[in-house]
């Protein structure tokens, strides 16, 4: 095996484009995932990513950009779940489970009734290597918009997630922040769908945040670590998929999962091995 074999993937334009796309989408998801993981809303990402399917099909029927349909359906799921929870005796997790599987099922039924040139597989698992120009543009717009808005409101959203009462006490409009955050989540998912598809988007929205939380106890650092890990995974995963001849999205998520496992085991402060060693030392200290 010589060096030119190893750099072979970089010689193809579609490979480089796929890596850049994956890095942008993965990085955006990673920033969002920090908020989701801290709030305990990881499954919100799961719910919204499934719920976009009927929106995509509807957009296809009326000829609108698929991203717009997906965004609206995602927002409907996220806000509808909250509304139903507040107005019924059912608990939030049950409502969320019903709403998103219901919307997903609706999307599947609609999909089979409509003849499209979009493969269901591409929506479910992404098509990073065969991504079309228009889709790429939509994803770039969605991701950029998310990152710009987040840069402006990140501290307000962080305060809202940490202590909603204090957020209200200093005069922040928490209802607005709540729906803004859900809108950003939907927007991110729209971007992520193009890359890794519905099924694996949820991983991109949870794993990087977990890596960040395991390796840091400051929000800024957590976000940086999460984005770094996600961008590395995007490039490494796409690169590996070339040699493994495997699904690109799956390779990216697998890379993230491996990093998470390493962080959970060997993290300097919160890692399992560190804690075990600290506990052993403490025990040894007591015996002396």
């Amino acid at each position: 095996m010589n060096l030119s074999y190893l750099i072979e993937p970089f010689q193809y334009r579609f490979m480089v484009e796929a890596m850049l796309m994956a890095a942008l989408v993965g990085g955006t998801c990673a920033v969002l995932s920090c908020y989701l993981v801290l709030k305990g809303w990881s499954l919100m990402g799961d719910a919204v990513s499934h719920a976009v399917l009927p929106g995509i099909v509807l957009a296809y029927i009326v000829g609108a950009p698929l991203a717009v349909g997906a965004f609206l359906a995602g927002l409907l799921c996220a806000s509808g779940t909250g509304w139903i929870t507040n107005h019924s005796r059912l608990k939030g997790d049950a409502v969320m489970g019903v709403v998103f599987t219901g919307l997903f099922a609706l999307g599947l039924v609609m999909f089979t009734k409509v003849t499209t040139d979009v493969h269901l597989n591409h929506i479910l698992f992404g098509s990073l290597l065969g991504i079309e120009r228009s889709d790429m543009l939509q994803a770039v717009i969605a991701a950029t918009l998310t990152l710009v808005i987040l840069a402006v409101v990140r501290k307000d959203i962080l305060l809202y997630l940490f202590d909603a009462n204090q957020a209200r006490a200093v005069g922040l409009n928490t209802t607005f922040l709540h729906y803004l955050f859900l809108a950003l989540l939907s927007l991110t998912i729209v971007a992520a769908l193009q890359a890794v598809g519905i099924i694996l988007t949820v991983a991109m929205l949870i794993v990087p945040g977990c890596i960040g939380l395991l390796l840091s106890d400051r929000f800024g650092r957590m976000t940086a670590i999460a984005s770094g890990a996600a961008i590395f995974s995007a490039i490494a995963g796409t690169y590996l998929s070339y040699f493994l001849n495997g699904e690109t999205g799956a390779c990216i998520v697998l890379t993230q999962a491996i990093i998470l496992t390493l962080a959970a085991l060997f993290g300097p402060k919160y890692g399992i091995l560190f804690r075990a060693r600290a506990a052993r030392r403490a025990a040894a200290g007591r015996e002396q």
Binding site: L159, F162, S216
Partner: protein, 304 residues
């Protein structure tokens, strides 16, 4: 807590910090009426205890005063203004119960204190030099400046409480609401919190404390509001915090001991009644008024 630090500027605080709770009724969506016809007034320079059994509407009342719940009937005004207006002016500071905080959250002590300054910062919430100064001064005042870079989960119960006190100080709230400030803190912190609240009272703040620690109430609260879904009694501690009122509010939930010393040499009636919630006992004389409150430490020393 340090005493030499800067006092709050008295000019910041207008004389019109009064809290009017006027015939407030709060009903939830499911039809449950948590509070009805609740009326009381409090003025600046006051520490008021809010006491009542669990489910008596204490937290509903807090949320209503903070504007998180809108009364079905009646109104709450602060300095003559509706709560939402008062909030925009950072008038109401809030110190949450320890259980309501996610201590694993990746924020430092300084980050938390700066959260009290958001209402003064621009929309990007970038702290100005004044915000940083005030945050540091507030931390110094609660003796927590040395810990400003710690992650909040790495603190003891009392230290955590003091960080949130510093946040309220940094916010310059004229009205400070404390939800169960003494749960899970050591005696030293308890004394430090009370000392700081007294300082705030001297600075013409209005402090409202929701607490289960009945025995502590007479030691630092000059006003008491006793509620059970409506106000049972409200007024100065000496007149309001009576055995009769507490018995009405707490019913059988307190320990009730009678100690009779009628065979005392001087022949006067000397009956005592002790009400206790297993924290610190309340001791009432035969007239139903407080005789004295428990002084932790002193009594223990005397008994030795």
């Amino acid at each position: 807590m340090s005493h030499g630090s800067t006092k709050l500027n008295k000019n910041d605080i207008s004389s019109e910090i009064d809290l009017h709770v006027n015939e407030v009724t709060v009903a939830y969506n499911n039809g449950h009426v948590a509070l009805f016809d609740t009326t009381f007034d409090l003025g600046a320079g006051t520490i008021c205890a809010l006491v009542g059994v669990n489910g008596s509407g204490k937290s509903t009342l807090f949320k209503t005063i903070m504007g998180f719940l809108t009364p079905t009937r009646g109104s709450v005004t602060i300095g003559g203004k509706p709560v939402q207006v008062a909030q925009k002016q950072n008038m109401v500071a809030y110190i949450p119960q320890a259980e309501d905080v996610d201590w694993a959250f990746p924020v430092s002590v300084m980050d938390v204190v700066l959260m009290g300054r958001y209402g003064y910062m621009n929309f990007l919430r970038i702290p100005r030099a004044t915000d940083l100064e005030i945050a540091i001064e507030s931390l110094r005042r609660v003796n927590m400046l040395d810990y400003k870079e710690r992650q909040i989960g790495e603190l003891s119960g009392g230290q955590k409480k003091r960080v949130f006190l510093a946040r309220a100080l940094a916010q310059r709230g004229r009205i400070v609401l404390l939800d169960e400030p003494f749960s899970g803190v050591d005696v030293q912190t308890e004394a430090a919190i009370i000392e700081l609240l007294r300082e705030l009272r001297a600075d013409e703040h209005l402090i409202l404390v929701s607490t289960h620690d009945l025995g502590l109430v007479p030691s630092f609260c000059d006003q008491v509001v006793i509620i059970n879904r409506t106000v049972l009694a409200a007024g100065p501690t000496h007149d309001t915090f009576t055995q009769e009122n507490l018995a009405r509010a707490f019913g059988g939930t307190l320990r009730d001991l009678r100690i009779d010393h009628t065979d005392a040499p001087d022949g006067t009636s000397n009956e005592f009644r002790v009400l206790s919630d297993d924290e610190e006992p309340l001791i009432f004389g035969h007239d139903g008024r407080l005789v004295d409150h428990w002084h932790p430490g002193i009594d223990e020393e005397e008994s030795k």
